[in-house]
């Protein structure tokens, strides 16, 4: 055992003396989390906080539809409505030019008299319906000319994603439908009152027939709305932990290339002992790295006006998951460091494989945006298992029992990596265990 501790001391000293390496290991992931959280703050905070996507809005209508859309945009907490540029009132051409230049993402033009057109068309439709009951002369009614539907124009910057674009168009359509519905009821009541003088129209208090409730089912007692820190801290913690295979394999390759490993192989110490002492040191590094990232989420993000991380109450599960993820990452590192023949090979394969596994695992693009085939592939990535485990704790409030499926896969991955490492080594030199 003292050989293990001696190896541990040696590794720890080498690591602690590499100040630049330590800075990269500990500071860079913190910086990454701050940057990514701030970049994505808008997307998540739109649920809870004010945001600032500027929308150019030209209301030529100045009637119900235009006013309601304008009011809706202002009250959505999602947009800042801009109705003039450089002190000049907006025109359709100015809006188109500003969006074309990329100065604004969205521009909405409500055409002149659009509400009046809706009103006229609704009235014709209601009158036609009542004519079906013999209340009007159908010949006369059918001869009434319907007005052609007006066009609400929405300009989009080409960089706007399809999902976001669809959300905007749906929101505008929704305002239109509401107004149309209100107008139908109102016109119907007015026409009925004309035909039946004793008809008492009900008070106009149009309300939604269906109310939508947004819930985020979790294992927690209290429901919490996920924020950017809740998403970013776990995903970048997983990425950083797996990226540790770069310095880890580098340390293995340096030992091999500088000849120290050769000397050690001539000494009465097992390969397993040497590697495990290295793994133990880097596991502590992973752990400290994760703690620093959590601290970043808890205390540094609020300093940048971002929502802080909610750590939750499953600290035990969090510790276990972090250790298991670190083991899986280092197991992979051991395998790469043993099988690779050169430093460059280990570094480039290590980096590229982690980026691929991260992309597949849903760290860069959420899994729900992937095709079914890619979702199947994503389920094979250890980074996906790791991320799922963290999300289960942070977003769903799950404990050890809930994260067990992920833990089990990560431990299996570590075991398989170890088996490959030692099998490969034994095949290369059956004498030296």
């Amino acid at each position: 055992m003292f050989k293990f501790f001696s190896g541990f001391r040696k590794e720890a000293r080498i690591l602690l003396r590499d100040k630049a390496g330590l800075t990269i290991l500990f500071i860079m992931p913190m910086v990454l989390i701050i940057i990514m959280s701030l970049l994505q703050e808008f997307g998540y905070s739109s649920v809870t906080r004010e945001s600032s996507i500027k929308v150019l809005f030209l209301d030529k209508d100045q009637d119900t539809l235009g006013l309601k859309i304008g009011k809706g945009l202002r009250e959505s907490n999602f947009f800042v409505v801009v109705d003039s540029l450089d002190g000049k009132p907006l025109t359709e051409a100015i809006i188109e030019e500003a969006v074309k230049k990329g100065d604004y993402l969205i521009g909405i033009v409500i055409p002149e008299k659009v509400t009046q057109t809706i009103r006229t068309n609704v009235k014709i439709q209601v009158t036609k319906t009542l004519a079906g009951f013999g209340l009007y002369n159908p010949i006369l009614i059918n001869s009434l000319p319907e007005q052609k539907a007006d066009t609400v124009t929405v300009f989009f910057d080409p960089t706007v994603k399809k999902t976001f674009k669809n959300a905007i168009v749906s929101a505008v359509k929704e305002f239109n439908y509401k107004i149309e519905t209100e107008m139908v009821f109102k016109t119907f009541n007015q026409e009925m009152a004309l035909v039946f003088p004793n008809y008492q129209p009900p008070p106009q208090d149009y309300q939604d027939m269906v109310v939508f409730k947004e819930l985020f089912p979790t294992y927690k007692e209290k429901e919490e709305i996920p924020n950017s820190a809740q998403h970013n801290v776990p995903s970048w913690a997983v990425f950083a932990m797996f990226f540790i295979i770069i310095p880890f394999t580098s340390s293995m390759m340096i030992e091999r290339e500088e000849g120290s490993l050769l000397r050690l192989q001539c000494m009465p110490v097992s390969f397993m002992n040497l590697l495990l002492s290295k793994v133990f040191v880097y596991m502590i590094v992973c752990f400290v790295q994760t703690i620093l990232m959590m601290i970043t989420g808890l205390y540094l993000l609020p300093l940048f006006n971002a929502v802080p991380l909610e750590l939750g109450h499953q600290i035990g599960a969090l510790i276990v998951v972090t250790i298991v993820i670190a083991l899986a990452a280092l197991g992979f590192g051991l395998m790469v460091g043993t099988v690779a023949t050169t430093h460059q090979q280990a570094a480039s394969f290590g980096a590229v494989s982690i980026i691929i596994m991260a992309a597949l695992g849903g760290l860069f693009v959420p899994m729900y945006l992937m095709s079914d085939a890619m979702k199947g592939v994503a389920g094979l990535s250890p980074l996906n298992w790791a991320l799922t485990a963290y999300y289960t704790i942070f977003l769903r409030g799950g404990g050890l029992l809930e994260v067990f499926p992920s833990i089990y896969k990560l431990i299996l991955f570590f075991a398989i990596s170890l088996i490959i490492t030692f099998t490969y080594r034994t095949l290369k030199n059956p004498l030296n265990k």
């Binding site: 001696s6 040696k10 000849g259 120290s260 000397r263 192989q265 000494m267 009465p268």
Partner: protein
């Protein structure tokens, strides 16, 4: 009385993957306790392959090796306690001090506590490194690094010491010091197996040499005996060139 060899090599053969020609061809050799044995040969002759097999770094394709009566195929762990290895590369951790390097390597040999501390102090003193023991290796000169490299291989007082080009790239003073030290520890009973490209050094240091070429021993004996057989060649270097030729080797 028959002296039992400390190293017995029989029909040792090694093929590397993808090579039709063996790196070592049925090499047989006995090395006796107390010898300073020189394994000499041009590049690619099979010296490093032979030493690597003797140290257990990789297995032979055929043949057997006994070190101190133990078979490398079955008793490698025990063999590792009686051998010391000084690689040609400076197999040290540059950001650790000499003391930290030696403590770590001593621990790997199973040494610890006061025994190890005293042994390290003794070696550092003998090698003139006492005052710089707490400085990182990357601040040392080439000669100082070579000396630490040597100490790391003999801390545990091995019965057999393998040295691969121990004096490459160092100043004359360090070289003379190392050679003198090797002779001194040899007198205390350590068997030394040594490879070098410096023929004059080998001629002066070794009690016996083997000249290896293309995986086989082409000359074996005491340097004086080899010279007696070919008096016209005047020194070991001329014998070496006569046997291995002047053609450049890869």
């Amino acid at each position: 009385m028959t002296v039992v060899p400390i190293i017995e090599i029989r029909e040792l053969t090694k093929y590397y993957k993808g090579n039709d020609e063996p790196a070592i061809k049925a090499l047989s050799l006995d090395i006796f306790p107390g010898e300073i044995f020189g394994l000499l040969g041009p590049n690619g002759a099979g010296k490093t392959t032979t030493i690597s097999i003797l140290c257990g770094l990789f297995p032979p394709t055929r043949g057997s090796v006994l070190i101190d009566g133990m078979d490398i195929r079955h008793d490698l762990d025990k063999i590792k306690h009686v051998i010391g290895v000084v690689p040609q590369d400076l197999a040290l951790y540059p950001t650790l001090t000499a003391l930290e390097n030696l403590t770590f390597f001593g621990n790997m040999y199973g040494m610890k506590g006061t025994v190890l501390k005293e042994r390290i102090q003794e070696c550092l003193k003998e090698f003139g490194l006492e005052k710089v023991a707490r400085k990182q290796i990357n601040t040392y000169s080439g000669g100082m690094k070579r000396r630490v490299n040597l100490i790391a291989g003999l801390l545990h007082r091995p019965k057999v010491l393998f040295l691969d080009e121990p004096t490459v790239g160092i100043d004359v003073q360090s070289r003379i010091f190392i050679l003198d030290y090797l002779q001194a520890i040899n007198k205390t009973g350590t068997t030394i197996i040594y490879t070098s490209h410096y023929m004059e050094e080998a001629e002066n240091l070794c009690t016996r040499v083997a000249i290896v070429d293309r995986g086989s021993i082409i000359a074996l004996g005491k340097p004086g005996e080899l010279l007696k057989e070919r008096p016209e060649l005047t020194n070991l270097e001329n014998i070496f060139l006569h046997l291995t030729g002047r053609t450049l080797r890869d």
